[in-house]
């Protein structure tokens, strides 16, 4: 079991604190999620399925929205998360 952290209970992504390989389970303080891809620390992993356009939450705040459908356990980064529409 690899270690992870959820910063705020409202978040839908967690941070992996160790490198994980596909299929390995990450324990986010009691919430356990299996990684669908290799994820480097300290990158983000989806804690649930997230629909396209849905907000991505970290620190209990919006950091952007999903630009592609995201499945629980997926790596969340530039390929499926952007915040351009939030900006002036």
């Amino acid at each position: 079991m690899k270690r992870g952290i959820i910063i705020d209970p409202r978040d839908n992504v967690g941070i992996v604190l160790e490198h994980v390989e596909p299929g390995e389970t990450v324990d986010f303080g009691g919430i356990c999620v299996a990684a669908r891809q290799a994820i480097n620390l300290p990158h983000k992993m989806a804690l649930k399925d997230i629909a396209i356009g849905e907000c991505i939450m970290k620190y209990g705040s919006v950091i952007g929205y999903a630009t592609a459908p995201i499945i629980c356990g997926e790596h969340v980064h530039v390929h499926n998360l952007d915040s351009e529409k939030l900006m002036k």
Binding site: L41, Y59, I63, D82, S83, E84, L86, M87
Partner: protein, 392 residues
Amino acid sequence: MTTYQGFVRTNGRVGIRNHVVAIANCSCANGLINRIATAVPEIVPLIHTYGCSIPGEFERWRRILTGVCSNPNIYGVILVGVGCETYDAKEMGEIIHNLSGMPVFAQIVQEDGGCEAVIEACVQQAKVMLRGASECRRSEVPVSTLVFGTQCGGSDALSGITANPAIGYVSDWVVSEGGTVLLTEMAEMIGTADILANRAVNEAVAEKIRRAIADEEIEVRRWMGPEASRIIARGNMEGGLTTVQEKALGCIKKGGTTPIVDVLEYGEPIGERKGLVIMRGPGYDPVSLTGLFATGAQVFFFSTGRGNPLGFPVAPCIKICSNSKTYAAVGGGSDGDMDLNAGAVVTEGLAPEELGARCVRYLLEVLNGMQTVPERHGLGGALCVFQSSTPL
């Protein structure tokens, strides 16, 4: 009330270092500054690229030059002008002396006998100032005399979880002691306007915060277009940061949790303000540190995830690493690049409060004279000043 041993200046401000500096009134005189520093290696040359021919920047340069040179970490200033630049070096020297009360020696190449004569006069005066500086003694002063600058550079996704909250702990402690804390890097506040405005002491300050962040968003959009959300460096992305809002939410942790009392312009003098203050300025680290120093900061706490080596030439810059992997890669302590490892929160189960308390103890040692890693290794670098227009 916590105290430390500082250098009390004639204007009442307190230095934690006691440098003699040489600086060009206009960058055309940088060669002379290098010659003076070669002849008297105990002084610190402040090399920069400003001082003339950038009409949009004249007022800002005046503020930065006078702010930097009157910072209480500086005992004395050798100021070298060429003669044909925008501001008269001797007038600038007088302004600096009136602000700081400290020795200033200004020379002008075109009025004072040419380069060799000016260098010789400056070398002699530098030696006199160094003797004066060596007679300064530290005395006991309260932490309320401190202006504490915060900075993050080469951030990764752990910066906002380990190192920046540790700096925030120090910020809260400085404010609780009656001191001043500076939070800056406007690009790294994008997306946090509501959070920060809610912490303002009154509606006028809240409005200043919203305005400053909105201005920055417009500026970022102007330069970056549809890539506006990615105004983060390649290393930040490799470190797990995806959007500017995500980086910002981690960045603002450095300011701690106290109310925000004001918003200052880049390098605007801090005056008598106490508590947490925002200084407008860019996220680019060397430019940001120069603004913070000109505003009045005597010391910086600088977090990094990727291992940024930057220091500042005349102020201690405490380097705190966000993760143990980078800390192992670039090293810590006497022969490494980092002062402290916040990654221990993740890898060694160190309690965040214990890390924060450790950072406060480290800061106190630095205030009392202990050198930081960038000071020990001579990693001060150049004076980099924010500029929004081009030379003509």
